[in-house]
Subunit: 237 residues, 2 copies
DNA sequence: GTATAATTGATTGCATGCAATTTCGCCACA
DNA sequence: TGTGGCGAAATTGCATGCAATCAATTATAC
């Protein structure tokens, strides 16, 4: 019975695929996302596409305008600043909760993740960005608060999207070294230091996002989506 | 053109109606929400009902289980505690932002709202609960951060739902007096006091929610929804 | 009499169809 | 050359239909 509850809806797969595509800069901000083109690609009807788009809209990754369809969100600089500021404050909450819950098992999880990051250090950029994001999400998971986890996820994703608009392509968005230091501080239970490190870590990322880039028209160029769609069509996770 | 953007979808109206019904304890936690009964009541097809339910599920007010339909969420005590704890921390962020933005206009808005609360002091319980919730939401609005606003809304709603499960029916959930004191502290720019007051205010509410009530089966009793549905059918906001 | 299997009824998952709205190309006209 | 309007194509908003799944109840065996 629980197994059947765990069955993922196709909607989940599609929104995950689209989310990945957005975060990996395959779908750039401003691109149009017509329901039936997407439906064709993913091999499903507009119904499911629409659901996925609505979900992503709730996360702030796509904008949905009445009778005008969906497009990848294009956060303004102001929104971006708000987002990054909130992020540091929210992750502050994460830190203090993780410290409260600290345990050897928990530490092991963190270090396992760090190891993955190190292993992928010279892999492709999208992968290392994803891993870096997942470090923050892992921390949120370990905070023990489902709601906090959701917020960190959402803000993290949106910050990632923002970076694809305002940051130059190949900045190492999250230093592995910094992650290591944070884990170190958590290990010794030094909340103050951990917070400071995290704050520094995040503002460093934010500060790199100060470039105002010129406007580009809303393009429609979904071919790059193909690999993501294929996975869903083939029933992948 | 902007006007057309502001047109509310019927989905918005329906989810608002359902949200109100839940928060005003017309739909109690655990009640089943079948798509077609609701569709009939609201005079729309299952399509729109489904969208609304999904939106409410994203907010945590409704639980959605595969092939089993929707029901009003029934947060566990543990989830409730998490929610209330997070709420105090999130509203801390609100306070410090509002203090930064403080201005006479802003103060006027707050006092106008307080006046409304006073005026409705002896009105029906649902109304005063709603106004009390809206005080917190107004503060979040004045914080200037759209994302923070969304989070405060969501957490506020979910706390309201929780109270309908665990608190005794007629506790004055938010003291008007306490709201007044908070405004006072904000006026003088005393962040420390404002925070302390808010924290005290919120934990007072949370502590009233310590009663474990016995289990009730998932009922289906939608007749009480009628007034909410009527408004939507008639095209009201 | 209890337990298990099979059938029926209710409810959701998803696709499709039609009407309404928007967008875009085209042509007239200043 | 640039601008305004008009019609066709594209796209969304919503309802409905059918298949799949789940819940409940009856039937059957032990």
């Amino acid at each position: 019975m629980k197994a059947s509850d765990k069955v993922k809806h196709r909607t989940d797969m599609i929104s995950s695929a689209l989310r990945s595509a957005i975060l990996e800069r395959v779908l750039m901000p401003g691109m149009k996302l017509p329901e039936d083109s997407l439906g064709e690609r993913f091999g499903v009807s507009r119904t499911l596409i629409r659901q996925s788009l609505e979900r992503l809209a709730a996360e702030g990754l796509v904008e949905l305008r009445r009778n005008k369809g969906a497009m990848v969100a294009k956060p303004s600089l102001e929104e971006a600043r708000d987002l990054f500021e909130l992020r540091t404050q929210i992750e502050d909450l994460v830190i203090s909760r993780v410290i409260k819950n600290m345990s050897p098992e928990l530490l092991a999880e963190l270090e396992a993740h760090l190891a993955k990051e190190v292993a992928a250090e010279h892999a492709s950029e999208p992968i290392s960005i994803r891993l870096a994001t997942e470090f923050h999400i892992l921390l949120a998971k370990l905070s023990g608060s489902p709601v906090l986890l959701r917020y960190v996820e959402e803000i993290g994703y949106r910050c990632g999207l923002t970076l694809s608009l305002y940051a130059r392509p190949h900045s190492t968005d999250c230093g592995i070294q910094e992650h290591r230091q944070i884990i170190e501080a958590l290990k010794t239970g030094d909340e103050e230091t951990a917070r400071k490190l995290m704050r520094h870590h995040l503002t460093a990322v934010a500060d790199r996002a100060l470039f105002t880039t010129e406007e580009g028209g809303p393009l429609l160029y979904l071919d790059a989506l193909e690999p993501y769609a294929k996975k869903v069509r083939d029933g992948g996770a």
